[in-house]
């Protein structure tokens, strides 16, 4: 009996160890205080401020291994980075306004106007991208919330009308407006920009209730909830769309339809899984072999952004209330991972450019401006959730 028992237990122990090594390595989810999240967010904002050029654009990418800025620029990401600064301002930190306003000035200097609408035009290729204008609109809306300044109200409406130029009857959006032909480019959609436009329009309705911006917003909400994954051939639906989560959170008090809530729950499942899987990744060779490399902050940050938005929705809408606590768990885990992976002021040895290293997130030696943008937004929005969970600052 003893020999049989010992043999069985040895086999089980081996199996358990294999399972532990491959499927259930420890999830690195420590606690994080609200202040730690805020400090990390502020450090990311400081990175953006330090690495802004005089024309309002930002350092796009930096390779710390080669000490090279490879160049290139992306206007959608420019608008997103600027938006993240305004998010911080809207949460009370007005010190970032000068940098954010320079980022906005870059967009205003590259405005394309036609009839009654305006769009942020790519100064390099002249393209009018939905995503760039949508995030410009979100920037303007957060600036308005932060400052109470109404000087850009008409510009917000103009940009909103540009978004509507690209909206299809079923609520979906096309990605590009073809300036020479004066019409949207047919059949070209973006898995990012539709959610960005959704959020922009939702905020526009919040800013100007009674002007009818809720109608196109609800249409795109339904498109995202019911049809997008199939129409746009998403291989693993739902597409992990943090912009859609932002939009749904903005609609929390409208309130969203049952279909929207069902979609929000699917998003919560997806983002929760992504954070759980990421929390199992380390920098060890074994972890890289089995689970792949750690996600860049531009990815992990979006997950935290989405989870904070869905947590807000779950706090307001009773149809989501049952997942609020779990969402809070994942927000905390994601925020802690982000804060831990940020380059702190005492970790600058070995960097040729400490000004570009401090406050940044590197993946295989490279940081890009949207790493800081998404991590900033995620950490910033996690702060009140952490405080609400009793994560006091000791």
């Amino acid at each position: 009996m003893v020999r049989g028992l010992l043999g069985t237990l040895c086999v089980w122990l081996f199996g358990a160890m294999a399972l532990r090594a491959v499927v259930i390595p420890p999830e690195q989810c420590g606690p994080i205080a609200p202040t730690e999240a805020r400090v990390a967010a502020r450090a990311a904002a400081a990175w953006i401020e330090r690495n802004q050029y005089d024309d309002g654009s930002y350092v796009y990418e930096y390779n710390a291994d080669t000490n090279v800025e490879p160049g290139g620029y992306n206007v959608v990401r420019h608008a997103g980075v600027t938006m993240s600064l305004y998010q911080l301002a809207a949460k009370g930190d007005l010190s970032v306004l000068p940098a954010a306003d320079r980022g906005l000035a870059f967009m205003q200097a590259n405005l394309y106007r036609s009839e009654d609408w305006a769009a942020f035009q790519d100064p390099r290729g002249g393209q009018l991208k939905l995503g760039a204008s949508a995030l410009m609109l979100v920037s303007l809306e957060h600036r308005r919330i932060a400052t109470g300044d109404r000087q850009h109200d008409e510009l917000m409406r103009e940009v909103g009308r540009f978004l509507l130029e690209l909206q299809l009857p079923d609520g979906a959006f096309l990605e590009l407006y073809d300036q020479p032909s004066g019409a949207p480019v047919p059949d070209r959609r973006s898995k990012y920009a539709t959610g960005e436009a959704f959020w922009g329009l939702a905020l526009l309705h919040e800013a100007f209730p009674g002007e009818g911006w809720d109608v196109p917003t609800k249409k795109v909400a339904d498109y995202l909830s019911l049809y997008r994954d199939e129409v746009e051939d998403q291989k693993f639906p739902p597409w992990a769309d943090q912009w859609a989560a932002y939009g749904l959170a903005e609609m929390a008090e409208w309130p969203p339809s049952d279909d929207n809530i069902a979609y929000a729950r699917r998003l919560a499942d997806r983002f929760g899984f992504l954070v759980r899987a990421e929390s199992q990744r380390t920098t060890s060779w074994w972890s890289k072999l089995i689970h792949g490399r750690q996600a860049r902050a531009a990815g992990a940050g979006t997950w935290v952004e989405a989870l904070t938005s869905l947590h807000h929705l779950a706090s307001v809408d009773p149809r989501m209330a049952d997942v609020r606590e779990e969402l809070g768990d994942r927000v905390e885990c994601g925020a802690q991972m982000l804060a831990e992976r940020q380059v702190g002021p005492d970790e600058l040895n070995g960097y040729d450019r400490p000004d570009i290293a401090e406050g940044a997130w590197f993946t295989e030696g490279i940081t890009r401006m949207d790493d800081q943008q998404h991590a900033l937004s995620g950490l910033l929005l996690s702060e009140p959730i952490l405080a609400g969970r009793g994560r006091g600052d000791e």
């Binding site: 009996m1 499942d269 768990d329 994942r330």
Partner: protein
Amino acid sequence: MSDYLRLLLIFAVVINPLAVRVAFEPWRERLDRRELPAVAGVGAAVAAVLLGLAAVIAADLLDFLDVAPETFRIAAGIVMATSAVLAVWRGRAGATLVPGESRSWQAGVFPLGLPLLAGPAGLVAAMTYGIDDGEVKAWAAAVPWLAVGAALALVELTRWTAAADAVARVCGALLVVVSAGLIVEGVRDI
């Protein structure tokens, strides 16, 4: 369907009493028939204690291991799927067990209690369902099937061997479905 009924059905295929019975046959042949009730009683008791223990310590153990219950569901599904494939393939529970020196009540501890009645699939099922549905409910859903599995040890299969083998394989196939559902749930949950 009530939660308890759902769990009862799940544990029927997880414990798979007929697969246990078929796997126990080589030991049973070596035992004195008068010893079988004691063997069956010890087997059921050992398995019930182990599954109860697994359900009770599950939350603390996962906490200690830094594993979220949602993630553990994936691991539990994999373990259960492995047992399921073995049951489908061989028509009996457990890996290859060579009848050994276990005599009298000792055969109730090994192999009947552990690993046949309280096998890897049963233990991880007790853990994951214990966390999700409550330790008592999960344990109470498992115990009837432990009793059935132990009671079957008292019964001669003779001409029913082929039928038992077939039912054990069907239960194994159903366990494939249950474990796949658990893995999907683990992936899709927050």
